[in-house]
Symmetry: C2
Subunit: 487 residues, 2 copies
């Protein structure tokens, strides 16, 4: 555990205008939906470019048809118009591709599992999609230290399964684990469900390799926990969302898989009780706490209705999921049952269900992990992911829950609605900034939030980011219209 962390930032309120499931239709083009966006002064793809790429990669890894899956994001909220997808298999190929794009001023959208939630992982206009999916080899695991070295395209769940067989685990876990790739996780600084215990990627990534915009390979590989030799460049790439370079390899510190894991789902009466239970869990469970999340009742209704699942504790206003991981089961179970008992006695918690075997634990986690998927069943989902100091949560409690609250973190409508959007933004961001929070706790900025960066970062910091971008990508070809604000 890296301190008394908190991550009460997700699924705070769910507002659903429609509750019935909704059939998929084609997503509006980003260029149409956001008419203010202007394509940059990039080169236009020619037949000779395509021929060049075919020579580099072979024809079967240069894709020019059926690109909808590459152009559309998972949320079905944005759609680019790329005509070309490239699927390199090695760092050298990525380097050769980018060298050509740099010379020809062709814009590029690096893409991993395409599970991002802010429109960062798909093209905006006609950027060439550079997919890392075929770079999915596990290169090495040091079973003494737990240092895993793998290519960027490894799927998180696949890597975790590989580690499980060897007594280790990935230090991060996300709902999207079945599709998301390590390279994308690192590029977006994905947080996930176990940050409270294992810390974020700035702490767990030991080294990486990336290809810069001009095709140069930046080698920052290391498997050492401790290496204090010069500026730690890997951090520039972590969370830069593919705008400074394409991550091609990652070395990451993997903890030993705990001997025993337990999970409780709790029903809670009020948001105030959620916060108290959170604090109480921190003090009682301390070093064995591996995850603590909460969800509101509307999110659970949505999961039940849209995914046809049966809820173990139906009809409560709030829920919490508390997971422990430790080295001795008797100790952990004793701590956890003591915590449950006392939380009940103090009337913080009204009901609860405990899971101790792997199957039960997995099925309870679904009620948290599949919220995003369930919300999509409603149609369009406006998605917000803010973090706030705990005391600000208390302060605004009334405003959030008991007034007719104009602040919603997940709001679904049948279709995208610009009028609804303008009611949420930028007022939600202003309010978050006033309370010292972050407008994007873990989703990143991507396309959708780039112009709101000023609510969470100072002008001096944004100016330096622009300088870095210009230095590393002078033609601005890497993932244009993402992260940094217009102008």
């Amino acid at each position: 555990m890296r301190g008394p962390g908190w991550q009460l930032c997700k699924q705070l309120i769910t507002r659903r205008v429609h509750s019935s499931s909704y059939a998929l239709k084609e997503v509006e083009l980003t260029s149409v939906r956001y008419p203010d966006l202007k394509r940059g002064p990039f080169g236009r793809l020619t037949d000779s470019d395509v021929t060049h790429f075919r020579r580099l990669l072979g024809a079967e890894r240069v894709i020019t048809e059926d690109l909808d899956g590459y152009n559309t994001d998972w949320l079905r909220s944005v759609r680019g118009a790329s005509q070309l997808v490239l699927r390199p298999r090695s760092t050298e190929e990525v380097s050769a591709v980018l060298r050509h794009c740099h010379e020809r001023r062709l814009a590029v959208c690096p893409q991993g599992g395409n599970t991002g939630l802010v429109g960062g992982s798909v093209p905006v206009f006609d950027e060439v999609v550079l997919s890392t999916s075929l770079m999915n080899k596990i290169i090495d695991l040091d079973t003494n230290s737990g240092a895993l070295v793998c290519e960027a395209g490894c799927v998180l769940e696949t890597a975790d399964a590989y580690l499980a067989e060897r007594g280790f685990m990935m230090p991060l876990d996300l709902g999207a684990k079945g599709s998301c790739q390590i390279g994308g996780n690192v590029s977006t600084n994905a947080g996930g469900l176990r940050l409270v215990r294992y810390g974020g990627l700035h702490g767990t990534v030991l080294g990486l390799e990336a290809v810069l915009a001009n095709g140069d390979v930046l080698d920052c590989m290391s498997t050492m926990k401790k290496d204090n030799t010069g500026y730690d460049l890997k951090h520039l790439l972590i969370g830069s969302e593919g705008t400074l370079g394409v991550v091609t390899k990652v070395a990451i510190s993997c903890p030993r898989r705990p001997a025993c894991v337990n999970l409780v789902m709790l029903a809670v009466r009020s948001f105030e009780d959620v916060l108290s239970t959170y604090q109480f869990a921190q003090s009682q469970l301390g070093e064995i706490l591996s995850s603590i999340e909460f969800m509101d009742g509307a999110s659970q209704e949505c999961v039940v209705n849209n995914l046809n699942m049966s809820h173990p504790l139906p009809g409560h206003p709030f829920y919490m999921v508390v997971e422990t991981s430790g080295s001795r089961d008797t100790h952990d179970e004793e701590k956890l049952s003591l915590f449950m008992e006392e939380a009940m006695q103090r009337e913080l918690v009204t009901d609860g269900v405990l899971a101790t075997d792997v199957g039960q634990i997995k099925s309870l986690w679904q009620f948290r992990e599949r919220i995003a998927e369930a919300l999509l069943g409603d149609g369009y989902c406006f998605k917000y992911d803010i973090s706030l100091p705990l005391n600000a949560f208390y302060e605004v409690l009334e405003n959030l829950l008991y007034s007719d609250g104009n602040i919603h973190l997940n709001m679904t409508t049948r279709d995208f609605d610009a009028a609804v959007l303008s009611k949420i933004e930028p007022s939600l961001y202003e309010w978050t900034a006033q309370h010292g929070g972050s407008i994007s706790a873990e989703h990143g900025l991507g396309l959708k939030k780039r112009n709101f960066i000023g609510y969470s970062k100072s002008p001096s910091a944004v100016a330096l980011m622009q300088q870095l971008k210009t230095m590393l990508d002078p033609h601005g070809i890497l993932n244009p219209h993402k992260v940094l604000p217009d102008n």
Copy 2:
């Protein structure tokens, strides 16, 4: 705990040419000891500069006499020839000072507690010393999250005492805690004794403020654990050893002080047994392990002789210190005694002593923390701090311990001896690089190791570091001759 980390990198072998204590004499000037070093094309300090600084700070915070303590490092291994020390009290003052130095091309050496071990914290020639000692206010502690905000000049031990009264602790602990400052810790990415549990500063620093070479204030303050809005610039400053900016404020995530702490010192027969005990402790103690260190017998003899201390387990070839921190004392004690028992049964450990109260724990820690101080009593100390993959440790065991080993991590001589130095460097670094290790695990590069950066970092990475330096400090005034290699 952030995974099965290891930090077997310290005090591996101690070779002492002389064992008697040694009286201090004046340290040779760095410019004399290292005749190849050339002063850069910097401005020369004039009376009008001094007058300007007096106007900015007031006469009593502009020091021009008795500068020996500012010019000489703690190891008494390098000595600069600065004529001027400035002691600003605020970020604004640091900014005004640097703006003037930038205009006048005056080189600057930022200085915290001056406890660095690689000659990074003192001037090489006549750099102006910019001391952060008077910027020592604690600004805020969020008792919900443990986020501490303080000025760069706060002494680590003072900050920890402040936190202790409020149920928290600093996430790092060093032997130098009584003098070292947070700003210096962050600038050098100090590791310390509890990295295995709480992770490094790239994980625990939440935000910072720094003044760049031209006087611009870079505001990267945040107290959020999760904030994914743009490039995470604070990491550029962490570990840049004052060459990219002067850190003026820090926000850091502080864990709750554990309810119970226990410590054992173990006597171990061989280095192989040290490694086995290390692995065994990881598996048995898991999440309650808060520190694990080892020392060789020579280091302990040196502590006993030079500091007049009485050793609890005299005469063993190796020692380990294993600390646990947890939330329930009965659980922790049970785990620890089980670990001790089994380690004895397996004959990994030949003797041991347990400390459970604060006083005992503190006094046992001295045998680890005061090694550096004790070594100084011998005269000159050649200090190396490498990290290696565990399997490399095994491989080179014979070479390290049972041959007449030309590889020494701490070697003391009566005086500095260039012939001895040339026997160690660069062969130690070559060997470390061959085994995939780092030539500086936590001490940094400073003056002494800057030209060896290539053994741990790729040419592409070093080239990008140079680009960053040029971008952020075009005249190269910040801590010249440190971190980056000559040319």
